[in-house]
């Protein structure tokens, strides 16, 4: 029997909210699939489109950018810039034919361990039927 496809997800988590939120999920021993490798960044606003393109190129099946809720940013407004930038990147990626489900953004606060867990669970669920991402992936 073929092994079930396990999507690889790169998650850019802002240090103050989303990474802290995922810590909280840990502290609360909430369970979610191990498909995500988190990369902590200072702020969702610091996630350059290049990072996202690169993750897909390197073979990520999904990319998540997660930051603080609007108004809740540790850096006051970094997440507002992120929101705008990510919207544009998302539109572009969809336009060139990447399945929209593969690139997601979420707001997860330091208190939202549950939400983080759900975001990851749902992301994995939505990626599994899509199979491996080959659209932007580098030829091996």
């Amino acid at each position: 029997m073929a092994e079930e496809f396990e999507p690889k997800i790169v998650a850019f988590l802002c240090k103050w909210c989303s990474s802290a939120g995922s810590d909280l999920a840990g502290v609360s021993r909430m369970q979610y699939p191990p498909n995500v490798v988190p990369i902590q960044v200072m702020c969702s606003g610091s996630v350059s489109p290049l990072y996202i393109f690169n993750a897909f190129k390197k073979g990520a099946d999904g990319v998540l950018v997660s930051g603080c809720h609007p108004g809740d940013c540790h850096y006051i407004e970094g997440n507002y810039y992120a929101r705008r930038r990510i919207a544009l990147v998302k539109e572009l990626l969809e336009f060139v034919g990447l399945e929209p489900e593969r690139f997601q953004m979420s707001w997860v606060s330091a208190a939202e361990g549950t939400k983080y867990t759900e975001v990851i669970k749902d992301f994995v669920d939505v990626l599994k039927p899509l199979g491996p991402q080959s659209h932007l992936r580098r030829e091996q």
Binding site: S22, R29, Q31, D72
Partner: protein, 648 residues
């Protein structure tokens, strides 16, 4: 030179080792190119664990280390200090979080182990490109700013002033005292609120280290921890220092406005002193109602003022103050009338909120402490108190618990009963939250000694009929509908951030939470700190609180501020943005996005003020030319981390 890296994998007892094969992780890392040492140990954070790290650094001549353990929020400092103790720069230590973000959230050992490896490799790739950095030192202006003159602000100001630091206390209304000065008695001791607060208010006004600025608002804050500059707007009171407090003006003033102090239960003149014990004792001319300003249509007050203290030409004034630390204590407001229309609030005179009821109970209140209902000044015999009016109602109102309502409602009912012995008090509640010293006993007293009737359930409808306020509800304990013909209904309205808190947050560059309260830096470990260094919270500005909590937090904030003010120099994280001059074209985008105004253009190139920069990196994502990035979170590092995360 080739960098030598060491990796230390912590078992955390079985916390990590239970789900992650730590030996395998250490083995894998040992084989990783560039890693010269990898080991695992049961508790890395323990003394012997730290020793192992220090020894390995020395023996193996390591340039940098990764500790794979719990969240960096917990032991990053521990391990960085260990690195420092072993003679390498603290920034040559990175944490791979394989507990909160791995072992605790997964069950499958194989998969969790692979993930832990990736997380650790990713940290290795990051640390290998870390620069050694030294904290940035800045001199400190040893003065504090307190915004808000309620009990929290007063307490914080006094604590700091008594330690010997100058304090500027800014209050936007004409007097300090806040909501506490409006209260009758306080739970659970039934102390007279004014009696315990006024001495503190007087102390503020007389304190040589406190500069009190009432009727003032902070308009702009620039600078950074240790060196803020505040622009404070002093609104004109139109009354000069010549005033002798003779009160003639008030007598002749023809304009009657709603009295804020009594929450509209009474009126006041356009020229007024807020309340008898107001600090400072100064008259203020409220221009919203005064016809006398432009053109002079009235001027009666000026006519009767012997000392000539009325100055219609008084202008707003901007005062600039330099300060080193800030305490925000702007408190709360009650949930708005317009939002609680379902309970007839604002529609029926005899439906009032808790603060209004406080005024009714207060000896200094409109009824001199007699409980008389507003509509007909009769003593209400049946009073319904409704808790959670606006709180704990995520669908329509506020999701959060306002925390103090259970207690003050109990107090209201008790005080009512003390004044109206034959009256009946009903309390609709969801459940009673009486955590706090002597609080539960207090609530028990209301039922046992004062016969207050607690009804567990929600009120479905309130309407006026035959001079009574009909209250329909359900007692969910007996499962039957309840109908009460009340004389007075008191709503324990939700607390919410005082008006303008959102603007305040922007002015001070601090974050607000989803409910509009100011967000603390960490919900557990930094409850007093804001996200901006040097700005602290006291009282209900951060979340609903009762008086002792507000005071405690105020003292905490004061202590934190003193912690800053008592230093010669402050140290700032050196993980700040750095510009590659050659690449910069001076397009100004980084300047536009910087939330801290830390970047400016000099000779057409971006220049970062290290002291202002908080290292968020928004500039680096915006720059099209990769000319700016944050030290130790550079695109190069992220690139390698992506590589490690996707795993080839």
């Amino acid at each position: 030179m080739k960098k030598r890296t060491g990796v230390f994998v912590c078992h955390c007892g079985i916390n990590i080792a239970g789900t992650v094969d730590v030996k395998k992780v250490a083995d894998k890392l040992n084989k990783h190119a560039g890693v010269d040492h990898a080991e695992d140990y049961v508790y890395m954070c323990s003394d012997p664990g730290q020793k192992r790290i220090e020894e390995a650094i020395k023996e193996k001549n390591l340039d940098n280390i990764v500790v794979a353990c719990c969240s960096p929020n917990l032991h990053e400092t521990t391990f960085r200090n260990a690195a420092k103790a072993a003679g390498i720069n603290e920034f040559q230590c990175e944490i791979a979080n394989i507990r909160e973000q791995c072992s605790w959230v997964h069950k499958d050992m194989d998969k969790a182990t692979v993930k832990a490896e990736k997380i650790t490799v990713s940290a290795v790739e990051r640390v290998r490109q870390n620069e050694s950095l030294e904290p940035i030192g800045i001199p400190v202006t040893r003065r504090a700013l307190v915004v808000g003159g309620g009990i929290a602000g007063i307490q914080a100001a006094l604590d700091m002033a008594n330690t010997g630091f100058e304090v500027v206390l800014v209050e936007r209304s004409p007097s300090i005292g806040g909501h506490m000065i409006q209260l009758s008695e306080t739970f659970p001791t039934l102390d007279c609120s004014q009696c315990i607060l006024t001495p503190k208010m007087v102390e503020v006004s007389k304190h040589p280290k406190i500069k009190l600025m009432v009727y003032s608002e902070v308009q702009e804050i620039t600078g950074y921890v240790g060196n803020f500059k505040a622009k404070i707007l002093k609104k004109p009171t139109f009354v000069t220092d010549a005033c002798t407090l003779c009160d003639e003006c008030t007598r002749v003033c023809p304009v009657v406005q709603s009295n804020e102090f009594d929450l509209g239960l009474t009126g006041r003149k356009a020229i007024y002193i807020p309340f008898a014990q107001a600090i400072p004792a100064l008259y203020t001319l409220d221009i919203t109602g005064c016809p006398g300003l432009m053109p002079i249509a009235c001027g009666k007050c000026a006519d009767v003022c012997d000392p000539g203290a009325i100055d219609f030409d008084m202008k707003p004034e901007i005062v600039e103050e330099e300060i080193g630390a800030i305490v925000l204590a702007t408190g709360y407001d009650l949930y708005g009338k317009e939002e609680m229309a379902e309970y007839g609030y604002g529609k029926y005179a005899d439906v009032m909120d808790g603060l209004q009821f406080e005024r009714l109970l207060s000896a200094s209140g409109p009824t001199q402490g007699k409980v008389l209902r507003p509509s007909d000044h009769k003593e209400p015999k049946e009073v319904v108190f409704i808790q959670c009016a606006g709180s704990r109602d995520p669908e329509i109102h506020c999701a959060y618990c306002s925390k103090i309502c259970c207690m003050y409602t109990a107090k209201h009912a008790m005080l009512y009963k003390h004044k109206v012995h034959d009256g009946q008090a009903y309390i609709f509640y969801i459940d009673i939250r009486s955590g706090g010293k002597n609080y539960e006993e207090f609530v028990q007293r209301t039922t046992e000694e004062d016969g207050v009737l607690y009804l567990r359930g929600k009120v479905s409808k309130i309407f006026e009929e035959n001079g009574k306020i009909k209250v329909w509800g359900t007692d969910t304990l007996i499962g039957k509908p309840v109908e009460i013909d009340a004389d007075l209904v008191v709503l324990a309205m939700a607390m919410r951030p005082s008006e303008g808190a959102d603007k305040l947050a922007r002015t001070f560059k601090v974050a607000v939470d989803k409910d509009g309260f100011l967000a603390e830096a960490h919900p557990k470990l930094k409850p007093v700190e804001s996200v901006t260094a040097g700005i602290f919270y006291a009282g209900a500005v951060q979340a609903p609180k009762d008086i002792p909590e507000a005071v405690a937090q105020a003292s905490g904030a004061a202590a934190k501020a003193i912690g800053i003010l008592s230093q010669e120099r402050l140290f700032h994280s050196p993980m700040v943005a750095k510009v590659v001059k050659n690449l910069c074209t001076g397009c100004n985008m980084c300047v536009d996005v910087c939330p801290y105004d830390a970047i400016s253009l000099e000779d057409g190139k971006a220049v970062v003020n290290d002291v202002l920069c908080e290292g968020c990196g928004t500039c680096s994502a915006t720059c099209l030319r990769a000319a700016i990035s944050v030290k130790n979170v550079t695109p190069q590092q992220i690139y390698e981390m992506i590589d490690a995360s996707v795993g080839g």
